[in-house]
């Protein structure tokens, strides 16, 4: 399928991008041919997003040339790139929540009537685009009312509107579940067959192998090489990415002690009939100390909502919560925190990072908030804490004073995780904690979660990646249609069993 002979539609040579003092890209070459799906691989902070931004004119390279269709170009920005057929979906969802879905998709290529916008036609066209992506949401609804995953799909819809020669997808699948991913891949293949060149970034190696024809690997801002996917074994790819051999790669399979939960003791958290109108149907849930409970479900099945009720991020309007046997009212995140319950939101940009603060400040934020403003953490302690997390999670740049907004997406996620780990909670609710995190770090985080559980922390783990949930959980609660439909033991569960439950075939 790959047209080896076709001249590249995008040809980048010797690209360097600097954010003094960091050199994010150093003399990188990159070629993208029409009719191929090209994966761009690398660890968090390797420079993938930067390369994309250099291409589309958001960052201007200090060196190097960019040719599109054989013509040397420096785009002035995404708008300019788009008019030359280069459409991009950036790493964070970059859409306008205040506009409708239809507008988000069609704005810039909107159908017109008498010189003005033709709203009806716009909605109609948007609906067809949505359908192609397998989404059946109301185009007239406002984007903000949809979950992040839906927004991500809408962003992809937007990129495919109009005629694009080059489609760039920076981690489009990070919050999609397998269903949506499959759909997306169908769309991508169809586009490829129409001759569109697709650049694809993902940290899911299986996805990369499934869909890409060729890959370029970056490490530390430098080019490692370009490979044909079929010819590159996974192990070698990982070695290229992280720069060392994988001898020590242990199967992450058994990171979790699968010993059954300590029976008989009172649950750390006991929830009875907790629910909220319009969000989650009342559910029961018990959480024991040292236990990892996974939440499985489809996109929009209500996992996030459930997590938010557990942690006081949203107020419940029914039911009761007991923490360590005592009735607790989790009306605010703060109240939950005081009881040792922590929550990392899936919405990294909106509810996670405080992007104008430094890495150090972001890490100590929750801890400091709990201590109150009058008792500042001693500087020395802060520095030690921060340094240890930077090392433990491999946050890069390893500079505590870097502004968070200048970190790569994956590294931001790590900082968030560090923020919550620093508070040493009794119960940690992780909503998509591995979103956008590279393979190495992901395994590290899984291991960390397992270790924490061994040390007695309870964890609620939500991930779009079912396999991850299966691997890590002692117990899995399955959600469907905003209802908790089943609870199964993680040890014995198989993939098929869970998938069955999720889709509604199993016992409800």
């Amino acid at each position: 399928m790959t047209q080896q002979t076709a001249p590249p539609v995008v040809e980048m040579t010797g690209i360097s991008v600097e954010f003094p003092p960091v050199k994010a890209l150093d003399g990188v070459d990159f070629h993208l041919r029409p009719g191929e799906i090209h994966a761009l691989m690398g660890e968090n902070g390797a420079g993938k997003s930067t390369l994309i931004k250099a291409l589309t004119g958001i960052h201007s390279p200090t060196e190097g040339t960019i040719r599109v269709d054989g013509v040397e170009r420096r785009f002035t920005g995404p708008a300019d790139a788009r008019t030359h057929g280069v459409s991009t979906v950036y790493q964070e969802v970059n859409l306008c929540e205040n506009l409708t879905v239809a507008e988000n998709i069609m704005l810039g290529a909107e159908p017109r009537l008498l010189g003005g916008l033709h709203w009806r036609a716009m909605r109609r066209e948007a609906a067809t685009h949505l359908k192609r992506m397998g989404l059946s949401i109301d185009p007239a609804s406002s984007l903000g009312s949809h979950s992040l995953a839906v927004q991500q799909l809408v962003a992809i819809c937007r990129a495919t509107v109009g005629d694009c020669k080059v489609l760039i997808l920076d981690e489009p699948t990070s919050s999609l579940d397998s269903d949506e991913v499959a759909h997306l891949f169908t769309v991508m293949r169809a586009l490829r067959d129409d001759g569109v060149a697709i650049l694809f970034v993902s940290h899911f190696l299986d996805q990369v192998y499934e869909v890409s024809d060729r890959m370029t690997v970056l490490r530390n801002g430098r080019l490692v090489g370009e490979f044909v996917t079929a010819d590159l074994p996974t192990a070698e790819l990982v070695q290229h990415m992280i720069g060392r051999s994988m001898d020590v790669l242990e199967a992450a399979e058994h990171v979790v002690e699968r010993a059954g939960r300590p029976a008989g003791t009172t649950p750390l958290l006991q929830v009875v009939g907790l629910g909220r109108k319009g969000s989650v149907q009342p559910f029961d849930l018990d959480l024991y100390q040292g236990e990892v409970v996974g939440l499985a479900g489809l996109l929009g099945s209500g996992r996030t909502e459930l997590a938010r009720l557990l942690t006081g991020a949203d107020r419940s309007d029914a039911g009761q919560t007991r923490v360590a046997g005592k009735v607790a009212r989790l009306r605010t995140p703060r109240a939950a925190m005081d009881l040792g319950i922590a929550y990392t939101s899936e919405d990294r940009k909106g509810e996670g990072v405080v992007d104008g603060l430094t890495v150090r400040e972001n890490i100590v934020l929750a801890l400091q908030a709990r201590r109150g403003w009058m008792r500042p953490l001693p500087r020395k302690q802060v520095d030690e804490l921060v340094a240890s997390y930077i090392e433990q999670l491999g946050i890069r740049p390893a500079n505590p004073e870097a502004l968070l907004r200048n970190l790569s997406g994956g590294n931001q996620q790590k900082v968030l995780l560090a923020r919550w780990l620093a508070t040493a909670p009794q119960l940690l609710v992780l909503d998509e904690p591995t979103r956008g995190i590279d393979v190495g770090a992901k395994a590290e985080i899984q291991k960390l979660v397992a270790d924490l559980a061994v040390d007695g922390m309870s964890v609620v783990f939500i991930s779009a990646e079912l396999e991850e949930v299966l691997r890590i959980s002692h117990r899995i609660a399955v959600m469907r249609d905003r209802r908790k439909v089943a609870e199964i033991d993680g040890g014995g569960a198989t993939m098929d069993q869970v998938v069955d439950l999720i889709a509604g075939g199993g016992a409800a």
């Binding site: 003094p20 003092p21 960091v22 050199k23 150093d26 397998s178 190696l205 299986d206 192998y209 530390n220 996974t234 192990a235 990982v238 992280i242 720069g243 060392r244 051999s245 994988m246 020590v248 790669l249 242990e250 992450a252 605010t332 995140p333 703060r334 929550y343 939101s345 909106g350 509810e351 990072v353 405080v354 992007d355 104008g356 603060l357 400040e361 934020l365 400091q368 908030a369 709990r370 403003w373 009058m374 008792r375 500042p376 930077i390 090392e391 491999g394 890069r396 740049p397 500079n399 923020r419 393979v439 190495g440 992901k442 395994a443 590290e444 291991k447 079912l466 396999e467 991850e468 993939m495």
Partner: protein, 355 residues
Amino acid sequence: MTNLLRHHLFWPVAALVALLVANTVASPSFLAITVRDGHLFGAPIDILRTTAPLLLVALGMTLVIATRGIDLSVGAVVAVSGAVALSYISSSPDPDSPGTVLTAVALALALCLLLGVWNGFLVSVLGIQPIIATLILMTAGRGVAMLITGGMITTVNSGPFKVLGSGFWFGLPVAAVLAFGVFAVVAFVVRRTALGMLLEATGINPSASRLSGVRSKTLTWTVYAASGLFAGLAGLLISADTMAADANNAGLFIELDAILAVVIGGTALSGGKFNLSGTLVGALVIATLERTVTVVGISPLVTPLFMALVVIAVTLLQSPRMRERLTAATRRPVATTPPEPQPAARPDSTEVKAR
């Protein structure tokens, strides 16, 4: 050179220096400070004294702005404060007793704190947009001040109160000592405790802060209360300056001056990172600018035009775009070393299993 140019206070300080130079050119003895009766005298001392109320108001404003808010009511609070204090003193049988004055001051400050709390309530509890929430008090507050004074200018003769306006401590004007002292204490508290960081977090991303357990509402409430209190103190200084409470004109447009001071000092109105030293310089720039208009002898007809040009010049020079230009012009070539060392130990594990 580059570092100096890039420093966030470079342009505000440069503006201040330029203004002082302009003044000295127009009036060579401008910078001269003389000692009389053990007190310092001279234009720079005058400027310190006139900066005092503005500095206090700008201090509160900086904190409010850090949380993404704005406080338009400070001018009205200034008026209320003066009106309350002077009305109390003038109606008391013994305006010259320190007790009377202390009571008056306490009364005024308590009321202003209350007004600040009111603003905070509207913003943080009712969730009204700050500009409108404080607009309410901006309008009504001045009415209250006028109600207290009956629309007339209340004048008092009270020795202890006059100290606030024209007394000296340590050779320096009391107003300046007070304002700079309060400023220093607040700056110290904000930066030495975690308050500053929590305020910034609230201003940058309120929902993330909430989820991190920051008591954003309480913080927001606190800064408005503080702003009210500082404005109240400023009101006392202003009324003590002329020993008169002018409900109509005291603190008129001081909110704009304060916001301008904050912005000149490099704090963004969009909230988040704030910069108290910048605010200090900003307040000095504005007070000096006002003095410059007189000393250089700019006709009142062109004064606003002159002010506009200075503000435009300072803000343009300070703008990110200009900074880039300037630093680009002076930048040394960047070292081509790799960004940072590899993290020491990196567990080489991955999940490569197919689904």
